[in-house]
Symmetry: C2
Subunit: 491 residues, 2 copies
């Protein structure tokens, strides 16, 4: 099974798939007859490269090669995943599928980004319907994890399992929709809200800006972490879900929604909306809005990672898979590895670690060193399981030299030397590198404590012997520059 | 105009209003005949006290007194805002409004939390309809900023302006709905999605969990920062909003939505939903889910504060108002104030600064000291305006002593001494206090640089004389313990 993905049709969606596959280490082959395809996809790639890598707390694989092909057959040669994102015209899609099935490997999975067609409509009349699924993403495809995976009886269990595994491998969440329906699941909600919003604008109840504010200052925030049902469950409180729903029941009978009755999409209505949208958002170019959106999404998703909830929990799972696969940040290193500093951090600088000027914020240096210390603690056996038994290390003192600036998106690594690992002490010296530039050092003394008394205590479990092994091996390392400095010491 | 708020009817919504008013420094008087009112409101207050204060980057006012009253007239005496959150029965609300208008100050604004009634329905037949507005909040009321302020021709411009000013003063965003409509704005969208979701569950297309995942892994994340129209504007890309809408037009004609046709709310359907909800979320108690929700919301909203966008921009505005009002963190202090350390930070520890164990995370100590340094820089004249002219201070070296633990929600302050303010140098010593406990110290050397060359340069503008004034005054202060330490120095 190759890690080659073919992207049929570019634009915002196809480009988003290309970016995600490539940044997750896949080779990407693109076919799109649009003469502007390379430029448009390039812009999506720029946005993805600045935002996706830092979403992960571990280094992504090396970016896969991206090539453009004049012939569809060349694009799909050897591909294990083919993503179709051509315009939403059934005839066109069916023509493309005929060509794809003729040229592609017979075990390649063909996913469609379609929001308007069901998989059975795409599969109908083809030579191998079982290869075709709907894999419907959400813009920006390189950031939002949801992919609605819609299948039919023509798709084997093996194909479905493989599709889910590939989507997870590139950091997505495959939501398996087993009973196909127009617009799948999420877009049905968007369509419902869109219709209601059109009425409100048309009837002068609210402007586009007021509607957007009603969403993003209220329930929109809730829905970024809990969906409709879980939010209502919490709101139902002590009385429970049934009681809560009983309160809702009567409202469903009220005739005050005009949802089925669709407003006529006249030029007048279109102009009204476009004008209000310009008034609301016109001070930013689309490129600026895309970057604002991505900054916001990365910040919120990383906040959810810290809570290990919602999309954040998915991202933590993806990170775990990357670590297991890469082995870039070590389990307990073997004796050969102890002859050099231990790599404790390897990652890209995320968007929310930087200031408006694009440089890594001062406070994030201690974040990076804190992550390095956490990894070192894990390596020596002070992991969540150990901590649950009542012991941990508390930091007593920290010294940081800020030596060079770091930009958003740069890959950084931390290499750690243990200066003293005897008894209750853990004296570490971290060096933060961006490529071959030493950007900062962090020196820390931690003390092993009892979480019950909050007082110093002897470490137990595997910690003493691991700390001793590292202490002894690192005693032979050259003492790094900067150890033992006080603020203002001469350089 | 008093800062007294009367809360008529408790529960999750009334309790949320009580919490928000009290935490923003208002005196709160509660009337609720439910014998469990004090317990239920107490639980909402607990949730609010742990989450709201840290949302702000400046200290909230002292919490206002909260009292419970057996008589409605006692609750509303002297109140300038009265919030009604009694059950959604028109007859009951009208009875309550008659009593309120008889007892309340004639200039008190009476806001209703109603989602089901229009203001004209509440105003009808009352002795002073102009006092009554709808102020519809979103759960959790102490966190989500949106309040739909729905008014009629009976409400004067002065009343509306005052209502908006009070809602903003307690950190809310009053969305003025000028043409009343059933369910106002936001709940109309929720109702639309709810109906569609009921159909999907009933028809076995998706479970409650799958529907929630379709929301929170996809468009739900987008809607926490941009609403429907702005998201579509960005997606429309270069071609613009009109082009994007033209693509949507045809879909509106498709007959695939059953939205107007409401599923019958049978016991069977209720059981199906309750059962799926239990399977999805049952491993957490409601109290646990409330705290998870609040942790998530605080984390995401603070991420948006860093981007100064969406709800985050609102919060930054609220913070600014609090600073202007409190004067807790100083403008350039006068000569008398320079005889003691300068207060540079005063705030509550936010939920996302703490680990699962409830203690402030090591990395956040540098965040707090970084904020203190930023405030000191602002005080001496190195503000955004100055930085835009091409000069700033870069941190060269940092030393932190971690002395004591800090809990989520604790109020902290940083007091700053300038050890050296001559020439290009800024040598600061920060002390981080929680009450009378010294929890950490941070010593920093910063160098003034040219942002163009990234090399040291002489500061300009007001900075030299302000730095000199502080340098001279602080030279007389007792040298604090811990200055000049290196990691591992004896204590």
């Amino acid at each position: 099974m190759s890690n080659i993905a073919a992207i049929i049709g570019g634009g915002v969606i196809g480009g988003g798939w290309a970016a995600r596959f490539a940044l997750m280490g896949w080779q990407v082959r693109i076919f799109d007859p649009d003469p502007e395809a390379e430029r448009k996809i390039g812009e999506v790639l720029d946005n993805a490269r600045r935002s996706l890598p830092g979403l992960s707390d571990t280094a992504l694989p090396a970016e896969g090669a991206i090539t453009f092909h004049a012939e569809l057959a060349d694009a799909v040669a050897g591909a294990s995943w083919i993503q179709e994102s051509v315009p939403e015209r059934l005839e066109l899609k069916q023509k493309v599928y005929a060509s794809l099935l003729a040229a592609a490997p017979s075990d390649a999975i063909i996913g469609s980004s379609t929001s308007g067609f069901k998989p059975s409509e795409l599969q109908e009349g083809t030579s191998n319907p079982g290869q075709i699924v709907v894999a419907h993403p959400f813009n920006p495809v390189y950031l939002l994890p949801l992919a609605e995976l819609v299948t039919t009886a023509a798709n084997s269990a093996e194909t479905i399992a493989r599709a889910q595994q590939i989507l997870r491998a590139i950091g997505m969440y495959p939501l398996h929709v087993k009973k196909e329906i127009d617009a799948h699941i999420a877009d049905r909600f968007l369509e419902a809200v869109w219709r209601e919003a059109l009425w409100l604008v048309k009837d002068g109840i609210a402007s586009t800006e007021e509607i957007d504010d009603a969403i993003r200052y209220g329930f929109g925030l809730r829905w970024a972490q809990m969906g409709l049902f879980e939010t209502y469950r919490v709101a139902g409180g002590e009385a429970g879900m049934k009681h809560f729903m009983a309160q809702f029941g009567p409202a469903l009978k009220w005739p005050w929604t005009k949802l089925m009755d669709v407003p006529e999409f006249t030029d007048e209505l279109v102009d009204l909306i476009a004008g209000q949208s310009d008034a609301q958002s016109g001070q930013y170019s689309i490129r600026e809005l895309e970057r604002i959106r991505d900054n916001n999404l990365v910040g919120m998703m990383r906040a959810l990672k810290h809570q290990d909830y919602g999309a954040g929990a998915l991202l933590n799972e993806t990170d775990k898979g990357l670590r297991d696969q890469n082995g870039t940040v070590q389990d307990f290193p073997d004796i050969d590895d102890l002859t050099k500093p231990i790599e404790t951090v390897s990652r890209a600088v995320p968007l929310d670690w930087t200031d408006y000027n694009g440089h890594m914020n001062e406070a994030k240096y201690l974040q990076a060193f804190g992550d390095a210390t956490d990894r070192f603690m894990w390596i020596v056996g002070c992991d969540a399981e150990y901590i649950a038994t009542g012991g941990s290390y508390f930091t007593a003192e920290t010294h940081i030299r800020h030596l060079d600036e770091i930009q958003a998106g740069e890959r950084i690594r931390v290499e750690t030397i243990c200066l003293n690992g005897q008894g209750k002490k853990m004296h570490l010296f971290h060096q933060l590198w961006a490529g071959d530039r030493l950007c900062a050092s962090g020196e820390h003394i931690l003390i092993h404590v009892s979480l019950e008394t909050r007082r110093p205590s002897e470490p137990t479990g595997v910690i003493p012997q691991r700390m001793a092994a590292i202490h002894d091996a690192h005693a032979a390392l050259e003492r790094p520059e900067g150890v033992g400095r006080y603020v203002g010491a001469p350089r």
